[in-house]
Amino acid sequence: MADTAITVEGAQKKYGDKKALDGLDLTVASGTVQGVLGPNGAGKTTLVRILSTLLRPDAGRIRVAGHDVVAHAREVRLRIGLLGQHAALDEELDGRQNLEMFGRLHHLGARHARVRADELLERFGLTDTGRKPVQRYSGGMRRRLDLATSLITRPEVLFLDEPTTGLDPRGRAEVWTSVRSLVGGGTTVLLTTQYLEEADRLADRVAVVDGGRVVADGTPDELKRLTGGDRVDVVLRDARQLGAAAALLPVPRGDVAVDADRRRLSAPVTDRMAALAGVVRALEDAGIEAEDIALRRPTLDEVFLHLTGDDRAGHHRMEEAA
């Protein structure tokens, strides 16, 4: 296996006049987990569909597992697994029937397909679902079966398009556990997500995609450093004290975001606990009453605010402190 599992150079895709991919470049090393982080409409699904040979790019050179996705789609299909954004299962059949059918279509042969189905049902905790058709599965069960189906042939490269969107916390944890256990086996994983936390937990590297291009690429730590890492949010009782409170925070005044409507200040911090203690004490000393003080990770909005200088979440609009 080559050192690079995925190479994307100048990928372009238009839907009518709408540019879904606008010269996207990405390289993923073999055996790593690459996160692709982006808001709705960034082009994540378009990228995954092109990489998994479901969609033809308008332009660009794209290789997966050593083969060109356009010229040698079949070679690529032999080496990939795909978990689409929406479940791609036969809803009328049960879990075993789905796994056996897709195993046969991978040309495992009837007996091998049956054995593999058993293994995967066991591994994903679906053995006792019996003859229940997939349409009666819970969201988490369905997602696990979908994931199991994409692993029938132990693919070299696995694509996961928003694997946990729409799942409850438990379903999300189940999928995360499954993905993590895969990575040990040498599979290269490309995972799209809207959640920074998910990228943070699962990915070795993260590419931030916006408007069909990669606007930043790095390890989760590098990205967070770029965004300013953790933030402290302070909600005051009295909006008139926002200016005074902003001056007390242990960061340069320009880094403090003020949301007057919500009487809220937000500032990046480095040492979480020390910062929290410092803020509480400073406010107390100055006699400023706080309604709420909280530490949190940067949100996707803030990653974008920082990376693109473009405030895309209008309802979270924050003004720089004057």
Binding site: R77, L82, G84, A87, A88, E92, H106
Partner: protein, 259 residues
């Protein structure tokens, strides 16, 4: 790759059979519904307008042809349901023979229609209908009926992909019924206003119905129009023409679902 074409097509056909096993009631209804239509038109509504002689020997071939034509709906529903569920995406990302999905659909639908014919012929027989042309002619008639169904298969697959969503199928269904009834399945074109009769004469469904009547020795149809005189020719030509148009359209549309 071609060595897998058969295996994959069989896997896809098995998938459809597994759906049947999940929905035995639906399968039964699909088999019984045309028989109910036959009973309704044969007995409740009395004889057909303009039919001389035994109405049953006129009606049974008409109902057989109508059943084949209405198979279009079943095909469309199944195809749109698959497209809607995204399972097609998984098929297309697998190294399976391209076309196996369509072959699976085709085999299952043809099998279902063959069963439909068997049940209908059995029902007709029970009611006293007889094929007077002998076994060879009956076989030829069944061949023509399945040929019509085969053409409807590709029309259905294409329309379903154009329509896209299951909701859209309803719109098409509303159009299928008039086309089905604007035929000579129940009544002779001579009993209709001239302009309507002409439309009915040239309906592909009418051609198959008339050809089957001729093959089964029905004396009721006494028309002398060109279309009626050349019913056997039209019953072959129409489905072939429809298939020649819609098979490539459907296959191409399926291959380019992505763009």
């Amino acid at each position: 790759m071609t060595s897998y074409a058969l295996v994959d097509s069989w896997t896809m056909t098995r998938r459809e059979l597994a759906h049947w096993a999940r929905q035995p009631v639906q399968v039964l209804v699909a088999l019984v519904f045309p028989v109910m239509m036959l009973l309704m038109f044969g007995y409740l509504l009395g004889g057909g307008r303009g039919v001389e002689g035994d109405y049953l020997s006129y009606l049974v071939p008409g109902m057989l042809a109508l059943t084949m034509a209405f198979g279009l709906e079943g095909t469309m529903i199944a195809v749109t349901r698959d497209l809607d569920k995204g399972v097609i995406d998984r098929f297309r990302s697998l190294p399976m023979a391209s076309g196996a999905v369509l072959v699976g659909r085709a085999s299952a639908d043809m099998l279902q229609s063959a069963l439909n014919l068997a049940v209908m012929l059995g029902a007709g027989y029970a009611l006293g209908w007889r094929a007077h042309g002998g076994p060879g002619a009956l076989l030829a008639a069944v061949g023509l009926l399945l040929l019509l169904r085969f053409a409807m298969l590709w029309v259905g697959i294409h329309l379903a992909m154009v329509a896209g969503k299951p909701e859209m199928v309803q719109a098409v269904q509303i159009l299928v019924w008039p086309v089905g009834f604007l035929s000579n399945a129940f009544a002779t074109p001579q009993s209709m206003p001239a302009w309507l009769g002409a439309v009915v004469e040239w309906n592909p469904l009418s051609a198959t119905a008339t050809a089957v009547r001729d093959l089964c020795g029905d004396a009721g149809a006494t028309s002398a129009s060109w279309a009626a005189d050349h019913a056997a020719l039209l019953a072959v030509a129409w489905p072939l023409a429809l298939t020649a148009v819609f098979f490539p359209l459907a296959a191409r549309r399926f291959a380019r679902l992505d763009t």
